[in-house]
Subunit: 209 residues, 2 copies
């Protein structure tokens, strides 16, 4: 047994880490962000408070990493390599509309996944009223995803499929933001047909060609 | 004095009503929706709880009407008739892009108005986690505004300025939702340039013509 201390410790740590992520996500989903505490997360995870503070500096930190981990566990956006590593980007098959539709369909799956829905809503709601926290979570969780669209749109622009004067960071909002608003504000159903339509409208415009 | 009881009573009622709206909006902005109570609104407005229950059935009801009133007080969307009555719709000058840009610029003004910002955020945040409440507020406050865009896009479709196969209720989301997401999630600056760009992208598409 003395020959394997490191793997055992790693397994124990990994188990604690998973328990802490699960506790943080379920607590924030049930109680909301303001009432979630490091003490509460520790109690639910069955670990000491100090175990959490050894790895993270605040509840915001724990939740941030719990969400990054959850995003790897739930619906993987197209482009993930399938074993949990960071995605290399949105696929580039040369067919921009098809590539965007595939990624948005994966996002639909994620938004409709109950493991994601309640904790993500609790965090998003807090970000609406707490600008500082909102900006941290957007910078760490949302903006890296949006930058994948920026890269894909730039490549399409280089290929002549997007007008040269289009700003990719604004352009992506034409299909990403409607989906986000429907999810955040319950303003309409979320389906593949809907996101496919958004891509077609955004690429080819509402005015006749 | 006995000859004017009704006007006096009306003035008193109107004064109480304004005080109650102001109290409800300031309380929800400071304390958030869950901690706002009819008792707290009554205390801040300097009226009895029964005065509120005579006119409204719940805090959600009071807030709903306070927001409808606020929308009339703050930046009026183009199309308002200027003396507080319901708007007749988005102007139709024949230039769809110009009309949409004008209305979105008015929305930018409203979103950046501090009287609107804090209470609207408190309500929007609650709607993210409380689907029932969110749907009520969307149905009463947001969807009637969106239907003005539907009407304007239908008229543009009839004039041949929008493709016949475009669904106006989805199409409006290409320029309305990006602005909403930037406001809700602090994902980017809110300016006239930005909303003008959204309209151009949405109407003429990202792909070369």
């Amino acid at each position: 047994m003395a020959s394997k201390p490191a793997p055992d410790a790693t397994r124990r740590s990994e188990k604690s880490r998973r328990a802490i992520y699960a506790a943080a996500l379920s607590l924030v989903a049930e109680a909301g962000y303001p009432k979630t505490t490091v003490e509460g997360i520790a109690a639910r995870a069955g670990v000491g408070k100090q175990t959490i503070y050894r790895w993270w500096s605040s509840k915001a930190d724990v939740l941030l990493e719990a969400f990054l981990d959850l995003a790897e566990q739930t619906a993987r956006p197209a482009g993930h390599d399938g074993d949990g590593h960071e995605t290399a980007g949105i696929p580039d098959t040369g067919d921009l509309a098809a590539d965007l539709k595939a990624v948005l369909r994966a996002t639909v799956d994620e938004l409709l996944d109950p493991r994601f829905d309640a904790p993500a809503r609790a965090l998003a709601a807090e970000g609406v009223v707490d600008e500082r926290l909102g900006r941290v979570f957007v910078a760490r969780l949302l903006e890296p995803q949006l930058q994948l669209y920026v890269a894909r749109l730039r490549s399409a622009r280089d290929a002549g499929q997007i007008r040269r004067d289009v700003d990719p960071r604004i352009a992506l909002e034409l299909f990403v933001s409607p989906l986000a608003q429907r999810w955040l504000q319950h303003t309409g159903p979320i389906t593949y047909d809907y996101t496919d339509t958004l891509v077609d409208y955004a690429l080819y415009g509402l005015a006749p060609r």
